[in-house]
């Protein structure tokens, strides 16, 4: 019983992190029609900046507030200086441009921080384990579960209950029409791109105490996030949430029962879903 609970919590913690990354990826696709290959690098940037913030301030909590806006700003600047000019081209060009950006960012981080992984201490409040009905469970993972849920709820509420969210959804549905009705589409795109990067940055900060900050963590997470959005459907936040849960569960149980083939399970699940729903669980046919 406690084993099942532990596995369930592990799956939820992983799903929380995956959601922070995949929600932004999905959002950017929904609004900008761009698959942002550099998205994983923003996650990595978040983890490294988290390390710096903790090293400078000696505290973990401020990094959760400071890092995401910084990562978001970097993202928004990159969007406004490069991507903005090629929205009219074929999708392949945007994908490749973000691939170029990913190379630049990844290598810049290597130059700045060196090749060794950087560990981040979790805050004292979240260190050690907590007893849950006989099960000793790491507090930090529980925090990730809560963080994923809170951010997921916040993104959902902003998109569906605020005026800004309304404009964003209008641009997603029909950018030309939204433009005619007075929405500043270029600004919406830049802000959404920045917000998505900020989410990825938050994911990176949150992941750092568990995984450390290391080179290559970006591509690791982006491939998982791709699987999440393929399962959930590109451009759909509920889809990201469902996809994160499915991938989190597949990886957790796969790693436990079939350690050698955990990856295969994830792709098998994806393949199975795509046979029945080629555009993902919540996606719409293009």
């Amino acid at each position: 019983m406690s084993l099942i609970l532990e596995q369930l919590l592990n799956a939820l913690a992983l799903a929380g992190l995956l959601f922070l990354v995949s929600a932004g990826l999905s959002l950017v696709f929904g609004i900008l029609r761009v698959v942002n290959f550099a998205h994983g690098v923003f996650y990595m940037l978040g983890a490294y900046l988290g390390f710096t913030t903790v090293a400078v301030t000696g505290w973990f909590w401020p990094s959760l507030l400071i890092v995401p806006p910084v990562v978001g700003l970097v993202g928004a600047l990159l969007e406004a200086s490069t991507l903005r000019f090629i929205y009219r081209r074929l999708p392949i060009y945007q994908l490749l441009l973000t691939f170029g950006l990913a190379l630049i960012l990844e290598e810049s981080i290597r130059v700045l921080y060196g090749p060794t992984a950087k560990g981040v201490e979790p805050p004292p409040l979240l260190q050690g384990a907590i007893s849950l009905g006989g099960l000793l469970y790491p507090r930090y993972r529980l925090f990730l579960v809560v963080l994923g849920l809170v951010v997921g709820a916040a993104v959902w509420l902003i998109l569906t209950r605020t005026r800004a969210g309304l404009v964003v959804r209008a641009v997603a549905q029909n950018a030309e029409m939204a433009d005619c009705l007075g929405a500043d589409v270029a600004r919406v795109r830049t802000l959404v791109f920045g917000a998505a990067c900020a989410l990825a940055g938050l994911g990176g900060v949150a992941a750092a105490p568990m995984t450390t900050a290391y080179l290559g963590m970006g591509i690791g997470v982006i491939v998982d996030a791709f699987v999440v959005v393929v399962i959930g459907g590109l451009g759909s936040i509920p889809g990201s949430m469902a996809g994160s849960l499915i991938v989190g569960a597949a990886q957790t149980w796969g790693a436990f029962y079939l350690p050698e083939t955990a990856m295969v399970i994830m792709y098998a699940v994806m393949g199975l879903i795509l046979i029945f729903r080629p555009w993902g669980l919540f996606g719409e046919e293009e």
């Binding site: 392949i92 691939f99 791709f226 699987v227 046979i275 080629p278 993902g280």
Partner: protein, 316 residues
Amino acid sequence: MGTLRGRRVTRLLGSLTVVVLAVLPWVLARHQLSLLTDLLIFGLFALSLDLILGYTGMVSFGHAAYFGLGAYGSALTLIHFGQPIPVALLAGAALAGLVAAPVGWFSTRATGIYFAMLTLAFAQLLYTVAYKWRDLTGGSDGIAGVPKTALYWGGPSLASPRAFYFVVAVVLVVSFVLCRALARSPFGRALQAIRENERRFIALGRDPRPLKLLVFIVAAVFAGLAGALFAPFRGFASPEVMFWVLSGQGLMMVITGGIGTLVGPIVGAMVFILVQEILSTYTEHWMIFTGLIFVLMVIFLPGGLVGTARRLVSRA
């Protein structure tokens, strides 16, 4: 280039290229010849990608997997069975094609970005298999000491750099001619129709999926051929040759040279590798500059080198 003059120019350029390829190994220094062999191998890889990317409009982000399968197929054939090089090439290409069939069947169910992500996911899966299946693939160490065997059973050895270069050059030229014929065949025309307007293609009563699956397999076979040359040339096959970075670089080569031109991707692969080679002698952080060049290229030169050159020529 459909005019008589254009065709003459093309034929002249083609013959000139073959002559240059035949003469170069006699004038180049050893390390230059080795670099040239590398350029041709990756030229073949980029050429194969252009069949799906340029002619059918399908963005595969997992093409390195088939290059890698070709490399492993050829390496295992050479090490365990000591067969001549052509047998290893066939084995590598066949392995790539065999794996591409089920992957393509799944992936071509989706279109556009979904297709790109599915191919990436499957490629990463294959990479993981190569990484984990230690008994067969040697895990992260890969397979080292792949020999350059003979041209045929009891035939001349291909161990010398010049001999192996000629094998690579002949394979590339033959592959290019085959790909060009394929692009101009009714099958190739149908692929271009899918690229231009898939819905209309369907509305005309044709089913695009079998054609997309077929071209995906054909492209994988040529990529496998490139990988099958790579393994004996470098003497090893490792999971790195299946990694997503190579898939991305392949797309870069095609875009750099000129999408949908067949010649362009080969030129693009050469320029891409040469630029990396030159940059890496100046700085160990060449990836930053590669990325930068690439971003500028995508923004300012969408037709690629060959596409832009052709436009300039036809304007003149």
